[in-house]
Symmetry: C2
DNA sequence: GTCAATGTATGACAAATATCATATTTTAAA
DNA sequence: TTTAAAATATGATATTTGTCATACATTGAC
C-alpha cells in the first residue's frame, strides 16, 4: 500500500491541509483502482459513499438529458477530487463519471472524510472553497450556455482545453475528445460541431489533422469567444 | 436591535445550527437594512465581506453577459442566505443581487461567520450542504440551458415560479417578473418570451390578465417541460 | 487483409430563435 | 390630467441550429 504523503492529489487538492497522522489514517483505509478508458467511476443515480482521488488520468462528468444526449458538465483531471458534492449532500449523484483515458484513482470512505471535517478546520475550509469555486464555474458556464452562440462556445471550449490540459510536443491539444464529446461539452448537435470545426479549420483558426486539433490563432479565437 | 432567535432566516437556513450564545453574538454585530424594489444589495465585481440574511422579500441574482443581456442565475427568497459563496472563496462576487420587491435584510460580517465555522461543526456542515445543493441546481440548470428548447425552459420556469413562490388568492403567480426578466431567466430574447407566453395563453396552458399569469394546465406544462 | 461498426464530413432542408420595425398598452412623472 | 417613457405585443425577415440523408474514413474484430 502506497503512502498518501507524496501523492499528487495531496499536493494539489484540499487534502494538502491534512497532517502526517491523518495521511497515515487515510492511507490505511483507502482502496486503489485502475479504471480503463471508457469505464465508469460512478453513474448518475448511484450513491457515492466517499471521495475519489484522481492520481492519474482525466474523466468527464456528464448528465443524460431528456432528449438522449449526454451533456458534459465538467472535466476532472489528476490531482483533483471527485464525488465531494454527492457525499456531502447525502444524495445520489446527479452526474456520471467516465474515464477519458486509463486512470488511477483512490477511494476514501465517507466516514474517514467526515472525521477529518471534525478534527481539521483547514481541511473543511479547503473543501468548502473548492466547492464554492465549482459553483462559480457552474454559474458562469450556465450563463455561457444561455447567452452565447454555438460558435462562441466552441471557441471558448477549445481555448479551455488547451489552457487546462496543455499541448503535445507538436502543439496539438493533449486531450482528445470525439466530436460527439466536444458537441456534448458545448451543448450542440454533433453535426453542428463538426461543421464549425471545419469552418475554423478553413479560416485558419485551427488545424485539424486526423484526430489532432491544433490552435493556430489564439487571439482571434479569444475575440470570437468574447 | 431585534434578537435573531425568532427570525425566519434562523428557522430555515444553516443558521439553525447556532446556539443561544452564538445567536446573541450575531445579534450584536449585525446590521439591518431596508432595500427598495429595484435597488442593489451588491453588484457583480464587489467584495462581499459577510453574509446577508433575507428576512423579507425576493431578489434576483444575475450576471451581465457580453451581449448586454442580464442572465438571471437564481432567485433568492426570505429565509435564505446570500453571499456565502463569495465570502468563503475570498473573491469578488460573480453575480449582482437586485431586489424584486421591498426587502428586509441583515448583514453579518465575515469575521463573525468564520468564528462560527471554527466553533460549530454542525453550522459548517449546514453551509457546506447548502452550497452543494446550489451546485447541483446550477449543474442541472446548465444542462437545461444546453439541451432544452426555449419553449421547454419557459414551461419549466413557470412551474418553478409557482412551486417556489406560490400563488395569490386568485390563483395567479405570486411573483411578478417583467417579460424581460422572465426572458433573462430562460435565456432568450424578450420578444421570443412574449411570443411563447401568447402561445401558451392561446392554447389554454396559462391565462394572462394584465401582468398576472395563472397556470391553468399544470400537467400539460409538466409534460412540455419534460 | 476483410468487413462490419463506428466516427467524421458535408449537403439539403426544416425548425427554432433572434432581430428589426412598429403598434398598442401601461406606467409614472410633471 | 396630460404626456413622455417604458413595457408589451405582433409581424416580417434573417440567422442560427437541428435533423435527416448519405458518403467517406478509420478502427478493431475475426
Amino acid at each position: 500500500m502506497s503512502k498518501c504523503e507524496q501523492c499528487i492529489v495531496r499536493e494539489f487538492s484540499s487534502l494538502k491541509a491534512l497532517n502526517k497522522d491523518e495521511l497515515i489514517k487515510m492511507a490505511n483505509c483507502k482502496t486503489s483502482y485502475t479504471i480503463k478508458k471508457g469505464e465508469n467511476i460512478f453513474e448518475e443515480g448511484e450513491t457515492v459513499n466517499g471521495i475519489y482521488c484522481i492520481k492519474d488520468g482525466i474523466c468527464k462528468l456528464s448528465k443524460l438529458s431528456a432528449n438522449g444526449k449526454d451533456q458534459i458538465v465538467k472535466l476532472v483531471k489528476s490531482g483533483e477530487l471527485l464525488g465531494q458534492r454527492s457525499m456531502i449532500s447525502d444524495e445520489v449523484t446527479n452526474l456520471s463519471a467516465v474515464a477519458l483515458e486509463d486512470m488511477e484513482v483512490c477511494f476514501i470512505p465517507k466516514k474517514e472524510i467526515l472525521g477529518f471535517f471534525n478534527e481539521n478546520n483547514q481541511f473543511s475550509m479547503n473543501v468548502m472553497k473548492t466547492i464554492c469555486g465549482d459553483l462559480r464555474e457552474s454559474d458562469d458556464h450556465m450563463v455561457s450556455m444561455a447567452q452565447k452562440s454555438v460558435k462562441e462556445r466552441l471557441a471558448e471550449t477549445l481555448l479551455y482545453l488547451e489552457d487546462t490540459f496543455g499541448k503535445n510536443e507538436d502543439g496539438s491539444l493533449y486531450i482528445q475528445l470525439s466530436r460527439e464529446e466536444l458537441a456534448g461539452m458545448i451543448g450542440t448537435a454533433t453535426e453542428s460541431c463538426i461543421r464549425l470545426l471545419s469552418e475554423f479549420n478553413k479560416t485558419g483558426l485551427i488545424d485539424i489533422t486526423g484526430k489532432k486539433i491544433t490552435i493556430l490563432d489564439r487571439n482571434k479565437l479569444k475575440r470570437m469567444a468574447e
